[in-house]
């Protein structure tokens, strides 16, 4: 099988995960945070698929599909919440959502 070797794939997956993490940590808009989360998930999916292909088993690919399903449902809930917040005419800033600190 030809193509780039495993480390390259893992490098891309790590880069995606890091970019997503930075997005989650640094951006304030909940929409962007959600997007960054998706990027992190995709990074991990890429790692799963890479290993699946490397070891010749399908486990990783099956797991990647499960992660996609989770990501999809998460986006549903997350976007729903964001729309609900926007409807209340509140500022879309994750730092302001801190009433539950107790």
């Amino acid at each position: 099988m030809m193509g780039p070797s495993v480390p390259w794939y893992l490098f891309v997956a790590g880069a995606l995960f890091g970019i997503g993490t930075l997005g989650v940590l640094l951006r304030r808009s909940p929409l962007i945070v959600l997007l960054s989360l998706e990027i992190m998930l995709n990074g991990s999916n890429l790692a799963l698929v890479t290993f699946s292909r490397h070891f010749g088993t399908v486990d990783g690919q099956v797991f990647a599909i499960a992660v996609m399903a989770v990501a999809a449902s998460e986006v549903c809930v997350g976007l729903g919440l964001i729309v609900a917040v926007a409807r209340k005419k509140l500022a879309l800033d994750v730092d302001l959502f801190s009433e539950l600190r107790g």
Binding site: V24, L25, L26, F97, S98, L100
Partner: protein, 647 residues
């Protein structure tokens, strides 16, 4: 013999338990009779054991130790739950249960109408049990157990009128003073265990001559401390007069006839130890002599009928200590027995008077009672003559024997003790008949006329019982009170014939089976001393007669001395200044300077510190999602680095 002795010991305990658990199901009267019956059963047991013992021939056969089971075991140290029946303990058993039974019987009349009669009778039966345990206990540890339990019973009964603050204070005082003695005794026992490994009488007495003199002196001092506290001798005597706050039968039983003489019993019982410690023996005799003089002097100026008798009790126990300290065990025990008779008689007769006068105890309020209470007059006269030591009453035989022993000891110390004892005899004559003439002669006071004159009316007893009310409309006292007094009067009259100096010594020979006397007066010394003592006692009585009956002599005016006596030689004030006040001062200083800032303050500080730490942790919980996410990410990174580094 042993079975009867066990019955004697356990019957009062059973009585006390039955009254306690019977509670309200028993009528008040039934509680009184149950208590009386249990003590008389004990007396029956003691009598049976006594005759069984008389039937045996040698001293070795007459001493029997019974150990049903081992009570305590620690390594090689064992203590049995054992009782010892021998000539000394049987005498004590007879006195405790016999006089005790009479006094409990008397209480039925005296305490009638009290609110808490059942409690009283349960305590009385419990006391008799504790006292019997003390005298029957087969080793020093059981003796100490009985010693503590009689202290408890004494505390409970002195404080019986718990509504009165003075009674509660007196009870606490008695308990604390006795606790000092208990502590010194326990320390003596610890030392004995450390050195001999045993507390049984036989083994520890056998080991006593082989101990170093320091050890044996310390052990004897510890025992003497206990004896002095329990018997109200100098310097731990101040609790006894205050103990008169209890009901009068309690004063008669515990604080005259039995418990306070336990110190004498202790010295006689442990005489092999004391005989190895001559200085401690001399100290005991000296303390007895000092007490008998000082208590006699204080008794001269007391105005409470019971306190006068209480001081005379201290004084007479001083004689017993003198005798026991000199090694005249039989004479000391003999005086213990006769004293139990005549002092119980005096207290019970005083109780009749107090009962009759609605609780009045001040002799200045009395007078002229002879006309109204002729029978009480007679028994009080018997008791007084016996106390002063006029032949043929019992006190004569026993007291003279002790005074003669002091003479027989010889040496300067013996002479000092002898003179003190004679001086005590003079004082006894004066204070006894001062009391007698004050109470029975002279013009009847308004109080006497009111109560005694109206002997056929109703009267409650006022200050002693808050709500007491009784209707014995006939005679001077109800039957249950009159009978014990009469029996004790007979015993006080003839009891001295147990032993006649120079002629007839059954009692002396009996006690000598347990402890042979160290000093024995010759017959001529006995007779000379008898004449002198009687003459001195009668002189004292004559002085009292001249002052308080005819008024021919006036009380010598010595305000300084009088104040000294009235303040009881300032012992209470001394202890207050030396012990109580410094202790209070130290306690209050510790409270303000140590407990406040350090103990309590540190608790507050610990609380604050916890709160502050919580506040710090709470600040971590910001509610900001990004901070949490950062914390997770950062800790993952740290974990990853650690993971890689460790690998």
């Amino acid at each position: 013999m042993i079975a009867a002795a066990w019955l004697c010991l356990l019957a009062p305990l059973a009585g006390a338990l039955a009254i306690t658990f019977g509670g309200q199901r028993l009528s008040r009267r039934a509680a009184g009779w149950l208590s009386t019956a249990s003590v008389f059963v004990a007396f029956g047991g003691a009598v049976v054991a006594f005759f069984a013992m008389v039937g045996r021939d040698t001293a070795a056969q007459r001493s029997e130790l019974s150990t049903p089971f081992t009570w305590l075991s620690a390594g090689t140290f064992h203590v049995g739950m054992s009782i010892l029946v021998d000539p000394v303990s049987i005498v004590m058993m007879l006195v405790v249960s016999g006089v005790g039974g009479l006094i409990v019987l008397y209480s039925i009349g005296y305490m009638e109408g009290e609110d808490e009669e059942r409690r009283y009778f349960a305590y009385m039966a419990f006391f008799v049990f504790a006292m019997l345990l003390l005298v029957e206990g087969g080793n020093l540890l059981l003796l100490l157990a009985g010693w503590g339990l009689v202290g408890l019973a004494s505390y409970l009964l002195i404080g019986f009128y718990h509504q009165r603050p003075e009674a509660v204070a007196a009870a606490k005082k008695a308990f604390i003073m006795n606790a000092i003695g208990d502590a010194t005794m326990a320390l003596g026992f610890f030392l004995l265990i450390a050195k001999t490994g045993t507390l049984s009488y036989g083994a520890s007495f056998a080991a006593a001559p082989h101990l170093s003199s320091t050890t044996v002196n310390l052990v004897a001092l510890g025992l003497l401390g206990g004896a002095v506290a329990k018997s109200a001798q100098l310097p731990l005597q101040t609790w006894l007069p205050d103990a008169m706050e209890g009901p009068t039968p309690v004063s008669a039983l515990i604080h005259a006839a039995t418990m306070v003489t336990a110190g004498v019993y202790l010295i006689v019982r442990t005489h092999p130890i004391f005989e190895q410690a001559h200085h401690v023996e001399d100290l005991a005799a000296g303390l007895g002599a000092a007490t008998l003089v000082i208590a006699g002097l204080i008794a001269l100026v007391q105005n409470d009928i019971k306190r006068v008798i209480a001081y005379s009790t201290m004084s007479q126990i001083g004689y017993m200590f003198l005798g026991a300290g000199l090694g005249a065990y039989a004479n000391a025990m003999f005086h213990l027995v006769t004293h139990a008779f005549f002092k119980a008689l005096l207290f019970l007769a005083a109780g009749v008077i107090i009962h009759h006068l609605a609780g009045e105890q001040d002799i200045r309020q009395m007078g002229g009672l002879k006309k109204f209470m002729p029978k009480t007059w007679l028994v009080f006269l018997v008791g007084s003559l016996s106390l002063v030591g006029v032949p043929p009453f019992s006190g004569f035989w026993s007291k003279d024997a002790i005074v003669a022993t002091a003479l027989a000891r010889g040496g300067i110390y013996g002479w000092i003790l002898f003179v003190a004892a004679l001086f005590g005899a003079l004082l006894t004559g004066i204070y006894t008949f001062r009391l007698f003439f004050r109470v029975f002669y002279g013009e009847p006071s308004a109080l006497v006329l009111e109560h005694a004159g109206a002997a056929h009316g109703d009267h409650g007893h006022g200050t002693e019982s808050a709500t007491g009310h009784s209707e014995h409309a006939h005679g001077e006292a109800p039957q249950t009170m009159a009978l014990p007094v009469a029996i004790l009067a007979v015993l006080s009259t003839v009891g001295g014939l147990l032993q006649v100096a120079g002629a007839w010594h059954p009692f002396g020979r009996w006690i000598a089976q347990t402890g042979a006397p160290l000093v024995e007066p010759t017959t001529s010394q006995d007779w000379i001393v008898s004449v002198i003592t009687v003459a001195i006692g009668l002189t004292g009585s004559w002085v009292a007669w001249a002052i308080y009956r005819t008024g021919r002599l006036a009380v010598p005016s010595a305000p300084g001395l009088q104040r000294l006596f009235e303040h009881k030689f300032y012992f209470d004030e001394l202890y207050d200044a030396v012990v109580s006040r410094p202790a209070q001062l130290v306690a209050s200083r510790l409270r303000t300077d140590f407990e406040g800032p350090y103990v309590e303050g540190s608790l507050v500080e610990i609380g604050h510190a916890g709160g502050d730490a919580g506040g710090l942790v709470a600040r971590l919980q910001t509610g900001r999602l990004r901070v949490y996410a950062f914390a997770i990410a950062a800790s993952l990174v740290v974990l990853g680095i650690v993971f890689l580094a460790v690998r």
